[in-house]
């Protein structure tokens, strides 16, 4: 038996609905037999009547409603159909959910699931990675699980957190990633993970790019170059300690992100490492992100727009050469 990243998300929600009667799921097309655009809630509406609710096409109101329910003691999970549509709910997320506790001392435990990131053929409005925008504002916890195990435990943990959580699940990983079974253990939210030890260079990355980084690390290993790969897991809070410890070991840093290149996770990681661990670096840090255009539809363009094994490898060589 094996479990995909997507199944892990469904299993986590099954667990949550079963174990915690404050949990309900709110989103477009998630109920009925249909079970969501990506089937992340398939079967759940039947299994938990009245707790998996279809909403109108109203992202602002979906999140507003979840905020109200959370303030009233519930633990809503909001499914955005695509992360890209959360732009409509951005005001509720940043200005209402993100400020609620600080203003009123009433916690706002909502979890917003954002099916994120690129897949081929999805184009400018169904491919975005928005963690950089949500992390910029105060009041939110922003997670980007990169493995089946994390998809499962981090969603369960997200719902337990008394604050708003943006849970960025990567659509490319939905079916591409399989594990043997659901995890028994968990690494707590807020901790990054060294997914591959190394000594020559640290690649710090998150979400789907963890797997590109691992592929590149594998290649270099054949030539005796050992790349350490750090999966951030949570981009806010960001586990600077683990990143610094890795850079301390390798002396070299490459940050890889799938989002747009101005700002975002890679800039933040580099800012932290260079301000807090400048002397750990033996060479200039580097970063690689998607290109600074909308995300193209055509696979030929898309595969060039995002960082890929080839472009990452080229950057690795550049950093090692310094």
């Amino acid at each position: 038996m094996s479990v995909t990243y997507l199944e892990a998300i469904r299993e986590a929600q099954t667990y949550l609905l079963r174990e915690d009667k404050r949990v309900f799921i709110y989103g477009q097309d998630i109920a009925g037999k249909f079970g969501g655009a990506f089937k992340a809630t398939k079967g759940l509406a039947e299994q938990f009547p009245g707790r998996v609710l279809n909403t109108p096409i109203s992202e602002d109101a979906m999140v507003g409603t979840a905020i109200g329910a959370a303030m009233e003691g519930m633990r809503p999970i909001v499914e955005m159909q695509f992360a890209d549509f959360s732009s409509i709910a951005l005001n509720q997320i940043l200005n209402n959910a993100g400020t609620q506790y600080w203003r009123t001392q009433v916690p706002c435990p909502i979890t917003i699931r954002l099916p994120s990131g690129g897949t081929k053929g999805s184009g400018p409005f169904h491919s975005q990675s928005m963690e950089g925008i949500y992390s910029h504002y105060p009041g939110l916890v922003v997670l980007t699980p990169a493995t089946v195990e994390d998809a499962y435990t981090m969603l369960i943990d997200a719902v337990a957190i008394d604050d708003p959580v943006i849970y960025c699940e990567h659509k490319y990983l939905y079916y591409h990633l399989k594990a043997d079974a659901l995890p028994k253990d968990r690494l707590p939210i807020g901790k990054a993970r060294v997914v591959r030890p190394g000594r020559d260079l640290s690649i710090v990355t998150n979400s789907a790019m963890v797997h590109e980084a691992l592929a590149v690390a594998q290649q270099f290993s054949a030539d005796g170059i050992e790349i350490e790969v750090v999966d951030l897991r949570s981009v806010k809070p960001l586990d600077t300690d683990t990143v610094l410890a890795s850079v301390a070991r390798t002396g070299r840093l490459l940050c890889v992100g799938e989002a747009f290149p101005w700002g975002g996770v890679t800039a933040e990681v580099i800012a932290r490492v260079t301000t807090e661990g400048f002397h750990l670096l033996d060479a200039a840090p580097a970063r690689i992100n998607a290109k600074d255009t909308p995300i193209p539809y055509h696979p030929n363009l898309w595969s060039e727009h995002r960082p890929n094994a080839k472009t990452i490898a080229a950057k690795v060589r550049q950093v090692l050469a310094e």
Partner: protein
């Protein structure tokens, strides 16, 4: 509060609504209090904006008066009367405006952005319309938890009705069939903008049908009508009828905020029936109908002045927040606060 009103009423004829005098007292208190806030503002004693409900005390008080414990109230910027009717202590208001660290917002937010969600009164964010769906969520959750007999009431201006958030919130309430009352006050200006640049329909109450709401209109300068129409809407929502839209017509009798002289309000509009002062009308009616005599009225004024002065004096003596002592953490899960260098 209630006591005085009844005392005043004791020698009198029958009011057009059993809460008429109670409502009047709150309206009067609101006016006196808001005048005090305005004068503090002019005296440079208040930082930030001061937003008054002058002219809409009748609608607003009715919004708060028929809500009970367990109900949800999401007032906006002109709802001092409604807030008081719902039970918000004057001291909370004074503390918020004056930045006392003992206020419900502890200096973190000011003026009309205050609230106490635990007492059922939400703290608005500025973005108009955003609170409607939050009320829907509160009501949905109450139903999920098995509570019964509750309603939610929220207010909006004719300008705020044009935001996408208002639309989505009103619609989702109908889809969820939650017991919501939306009281929209068309006070003929959104800041400086008159109706013809806000909407193109003849009457905003016509929106009710398009959302599946029951709609009613009311003269916002007529307290008796406001009490009747809004109490009926609250009752219908509580009884499980569809969501309710009440559209009240008034004129804002102050600036948008106290920084604004409202010189854009035309003379023509000032002569419209909706430009009457609801408080004056109410007082006149009370005297005409001898619901209270002048003496009782005067005594009420004195009491109110004392209440207002006390709230302000108390708040003024309290400490303001201190930056170096502030808890700079935006989330409740402290161990997840990001440690940004």
């Amino acid at each position: 509060m209630l006591q005085t009103a009844e005392r005043g009423a004791s020698k009198s004829k029958k009011a057009p609504h059993k809460k008429y005098l109670e409502a009047f007292r709150i309206m009067l208190q609101t006016r006196v209090f808001e005048e005090k806030l305005a004068s503090l503002y002019r005296g440079g004693m208040i930082t930030g904006g001061v937003y008054l409900g002058k002219g809409q005390e009748a609608v607003s008080v009715a919004c708060g008066l028929f809500l009970q414990k367990g109900d949800v109230f999401a007032p906006l910027i002109r709802d001092q009367a409604g807030r008081s009717a719902f039970g918000e202590p004057l001291l909370d208001v004074a503390r918020t405006y004056l930045g006392s660290r003992q206020g419900p917002m502890r200096g973190r937010d000011g003026n009309i952005h205050r609230g106490c969600p635990k007492a059922g009164q939400l703290a608005m964010i500025s973005h108009l319309g955003a609170m409607i769906s939050v009320v829907v969520g509160k009501l949905l959750a109450k139903r999920m938890k098995g509570e019964k007999g509750f309603v939610g009431l929220t207010t909006i201006g004719e300008g705020g009705m044009q935001t996408g958030a208002t639309h989505e919130g009103m619609n989702i309430a109908a889809v969820e069939r939650v017991p919501l009352v939306v009281v929209a006050t068309n006070n003929h200006y959104a800041y400086s903008t008159p109706n013809d640049r806000q909407f193109g329909c003849a009457d905003l109450v016509d929106r009710a049908k398009g959302y599946g709401y029951e709609g009613s209109s009311v003269d916002g300068t007529d307290l008796a009508a406001c009490l009747e129409v809004i109490s009926a809407a609250v009752k219908r929502a509580r009884a499980g009828r569809p969501p309710q839209l009440v559209v009240a017509s008034t004129l804002r009798l102050a600036g948008h905020g106290e920084h604004d002289d409202a010189s854009y309000v035309t003379d023509d509009i000032r002569r419209e029936p909706f430009a009457q002062d609801a408080l004056q009308r109410t007082e006149q009616f009370i005297l005409e109908q001898e619901l209270m005599d002048r003496e009782a009225l005067q005594q009420m004024r004195v009491e109110i002045a004392a209440e207002v002065d006390e709230a302000v004096a108390t708040a003024q003596q309290e400490d303001t927040p201190v930056g170096s002592e502030e808890d700079w953490c935006a989330i409740s899960t402290r161990e997840l606060a990001d440690q940004i260098p």
